[in-house]
Amino acid sequence: MAAGGIAPYFMGGLPLSAFGQLNETALGDDKVLVVIQMAGGNDGLNTLIPVDQYSRYQSARKNIAIPENKLLSIPQSDKIGIHPSLEKITQLFEEGKGTIIQDVGYPDPDFSHFRSTDIWNTASDSDKHVLSGWAGRYLSIENPDYPNGYPNTNHPDPLSIQIGSVLNTSLQGPVYPMGMAIADPNFFYELIAETPVATTSTYAEKELAFLKQVANQTNQYSGVIRDAGQRITNQSGYPDESLANQLKIVAKLIAGGLRTKFYFVQIGGFDTHDNQVQNGDVTKGEHAELLQKLSEAVFAFTRDLEKQGISERVLTMTYSEFGRRIRSNASLGTDHGAAAPMFLFGSHVNSKVFGENPILPDNPQTEDNVPMQYDFRSVYASVLERWFCLDTGSVSDVMLKPFQSLPLIQGGPCGFITANEPQPEILFKAYPNPFEDFLTIEFESKGGYNYVQVFNSRGQQIGSPVSADYPKGLQNAVLKTSRWPKGMYFLRWQNALEQKVIRIIKI
């Protein structure tokens, strides 16, 4: 791991003591999460190619399959071929600064951008409508009075920042937006908000109160943001492109001393129904260009954080509202799908691949999807617990229910040490396979809660036959399956830190 470097004693001429609270910082309190939204639905299967099933991959996606000899590799896995445009990201994996979480999704996937983005941002079940965002709920637990009395000495800076002009729904609190949108930290305009709102007894007064609150906060925060931005003048090189420019501002603000916990940035265009690859060269095209932008921006950002001496404080996470179908379409593209990988970057990530490659069927149908191995809320919950040191009870409150905690963070602020010893083979099987009227499932419980979900080939959850505490040791359950329609299913089992997905076929 590269040395983080020592924070410069002086920042832009100001002694470090100007940021008085640094020494009193509570555990996890100076940690920052940068979230990169890949809007449109990133094609996971063409991002990380399952080389252990290359021929099945190739036959499912004849017109867009990336040739095996063009794929890149990472030391963390010999079963994954990396899209050639992610060359810079593979370098981060070689340095132990990247994590892959395979097949992240949620039960009963929704294929509408609109809805699925809401689900990821609000962290709701797919059949529930939640109006607040997951990061907003977390920030509101820590700042229950916000925005009343903010900024203050303990919280002089915005709680979260969206780079750009539209605030991500993830940052919506139960009542108020918990973040501030900034397109350019160097330019602010003083807004008129002098008259406090006496009453909110009419609809118009309700909006006036909102407008005055935005104006007041903008005026109050603009000074600290501008100052932070102006302190940093020695950033390393970034490509001149939107995502890179956004991350450059993020690095500047973190290095400039803001104690903001969340930054959201966005790269759009992943809705590759057509021309995902270029006719004649499948390693080029829209998806390749997007991945390259992502890869180069994250790489430049990482190097800049290292240069600024703040890489230890920053974790970066990517997400997209869904992956895409296993089979490609006739337009050199892919349609809306279900689970897809997430990436984490940073010097404290547990740099490995979580989960197995998606299991590809021999002859995938148009509607076949990648089933989920990990619930995205499990990733969020683990970040809250292991990066922001939030206690388990509060994590469940924020995520609206308990989720499996994953050892995504190595060392870091909350003291999670995750030695990566070779894992014994996880025992989870189902027999007979193929099955008819009965199916026996067998799993080795480590004690505590065990959970088995059944998904159909479209990713819809059709049942959860095991959902209880089991003692340590080999356990089994017999499922009556006579009424299940014939076809392919997936069984997903989780217990403590383990989970496994297997494919079963009813005949």
Binding site: S165, A183, Y189, T202, F210, V214, N329, T366
Partner: protein, 530 residues
């Protein structure tokens, strides 16, 4: 919360003074100016509604303003329209896109006094497409022309037409949807976003999406001239079986040209769901009245109007007439209750301040300067022609914030910076400086030398609701009286200037104070409302 007095869809019968007219005009036009109000002087409620819901005449089409920058090699001369010309090449197309964007915002800036232009925006948000994705300028013109044609027409015909519109076929992959490789994109949005929505009584299934996609196979168009055609060889001729939500209806597969007719059957089948009419009225409600739809609103307002819409065979004009005539629409509780969208904001500012723009005959300069206002709407997050996604602009539909989504620390500042630039003549394009004549604006009030009246009248017309007396007094004292307390200082300055209009020094003093006064009035949060 101030109680809504009436949820009724029955005809409004309350007072009809400038206060009520201002509210009506703020919602159906882009802002309500002094001239707008004057145009309705002495008109009855019925006359006003009738006049404002009529379609406006078709505008003159967009022109080649770019000839001297990038010659159009397809035979379109400078100052002539390109809408019927061949595609040319990518560079020419890009210039035409710029021409169209400027032209579209011109229609707003110089809008006729009817709801038509705002309805076009409503339908653009409803049947959303993104120019930056389908790219072809001619498609974009035809698309907006289709919205213009059907905005107050028949909804059934509207849906049929938009389904076959080349911009839409390109945008939602309609022309790539074939029997071998069905593409569900349009089939899904037709139900989710265009006709049924995702309310609790909209229970179409994933299966219905796939079957609808099969119905819709075979539609095609020519990229050269944008002409629609049906390719029977790509149409799925099998039967399509829908879920019990659609009463298990089967659409019988048809071969040859008749396959295209299945699309009409599909739209007809969906229209059988009363949810369609409710979905459209709710959408109009959120756009023109308020975001919150309570049970009372649903029961007493949405349902009766939805019923009327169905009974009128999905004709929009009778629906709009009832909608805008209703007691509920004119309820005073809604005065100033909505946050202006970026287009509302920039267009109303333009219409209030009436900046001087180049002569229309100077096509290049005129188009370039109007494009600045398009740019301004863009940086505040509403580019006409390019909503952020197929679901339109989130502020029109996304809970819990709805219209508050327009405002954050970035966009709020940019709105105010824009007015600052305009008032201080800093808006420029191609060497042309846009000038605002603040003296002229003041002169149109009844007694500009009397500072209380001046502020009262200016704030009365600029702001949708009354502003605190203390705020007006403060502005008067700090701005017009330069901190003095005697009204006479302003009266004397104004009178001196009237007597010596050529005195630059006096003119500057008057102008500076008026600019700052208007800057502060438009900087009040009340100015963000409509």
């Amino acid at each position: 919360m101030k109680a809504i007095k009436s949820f009724s869809a029955e005809k409004y019968s309350g007072p009809w003074t400038n206060l009520e007219k201002k509210h009506f005009l703020n919602r159906v036009l882009f802002g309500c100016t002094q001239d707008d109000l004057q145009s309705l002087e002495n008109k009855t409620f019925e006359q006003c509604i009738e006049e404002l819901i009529q379609p406006s005449p078709a505008p003159f089409p967009p022109l080649n303003h770019y000839q001297n920058q990038e010659p159009d090699t397809t035979g379109v001369a400078y100052g002539q329209t390109w809408i019927n010309a061949p595609y040319g090449n990518g560079v020419i197309n890009a210039r035409r896109v710029a021409s169209l964007r400027s032209w579209w915002v011109q229609q707003l800036l110089f809008q006729k006094r009817t709801v038509h232009e705002k309805l076009i925006l409503f339908w653009h948000n409803h049947f959303a497409t993104q120019m930056e994705i389908y790219e072809v300028a001619k498609f974009a013109f035809d698309y907006q022309n289709l919205l213009r044609t059907y905005a107050v027409g028949n909804f059934r015909d509207f849906v049929k037409a938009i389904t076959l519109d080349p911009a839409m076929l390109e945008y939602l992959n309609g022309q790539r949807n074939t029997k071998e490789a069905p593409d569900e994109n349009y089939a899904r949005e037709l139900q989710e976003l265009f006709m049924l929505g995702k309310g609790e009584n909209s229970n179409y299934t994933e299966h219905d999406v796939r079957e609808a996609a099969r119905v819709l196979t075979g539609h095609n168009y020519s990229r050269l001239d944008g002409k629609y055609s049906f390719d029977a060889s790509r149409h799925d001729t099998g039967d399509k079986q829908f879920s019990d939500f659609f009463h298990n209806q089967t659409i019988t597969g048809k071969a040859r040209e008749e396959g295209a007719g299945e699309t009409d059957e599909l739209i007809e089948m969906i229209l059988q769901q009363p949810e369609v009419s409710k979905f459209i009225v709710r959408k109009l409600y959120r756009f023109f009245i308020y975001y919150e739809i309570s049970d009372a609103v649903e029961l007493q307002f949405i349902e009766p109007l939805a019923k009327l819409f169905r009974e009128q065979n999905y004709e929009l004009l009778p629906l709009l007439k009832a909608f805008f005539s209703s007691q509920h629409f004119h309820d005073p509780a809604f005065h100033g209750a909505v946050i202006a969208s970026p287009l509302d904001f920039i267009v109303k500012t333009f219409r209030h301040l009436k900046p001087e723009v180049p002569e229309e005959t100077d096509v290049f300069l005129y188009y370039s300067v109007c494009n600045v206002f398009m740019y301004f709407a863009g940086i505040t997050q509403q580019i006409i022609g390019d909503p952020p996604s197929v679901s339109g602009w989130p502020a029109y539909h996304q809970a819990p914030l709805y219209h508050q989504l327009w405002i954050n620390s970035d966009t709020y500042q940019k709105r105010n910076q824009g007015i600052l630039a305009l008032l201080f003549n800093e808006v420029k394009s191609e060497g042309y400086k846009v000038k605002v004549d603040v003296i002229h604006l003041a002169s149109k009030t009844t007694d500009p030398g009397e500072p209380n009246k001046l502020i009262n009248e200016l704030s009365g017309i600029l702001l949708p609701i009354a502003v605190d007396e203390a705020v007006k007094q403060k502005f008067k004292k700090d701005i017009l009286l330069s901190g003095q307390s005697n009204d006479y200082y302003w009266t004397q300055l104004w009178d001196n200037f009237q007597n010596k209009p050529d005195d630059e020094n006096l003119k500057n003093m008057v102008e500076q104070r008026l600019r700052i006064l208007i800057l502060y009035l438009t900087g009040l949060p009340e100015y963000q409302l409509i």
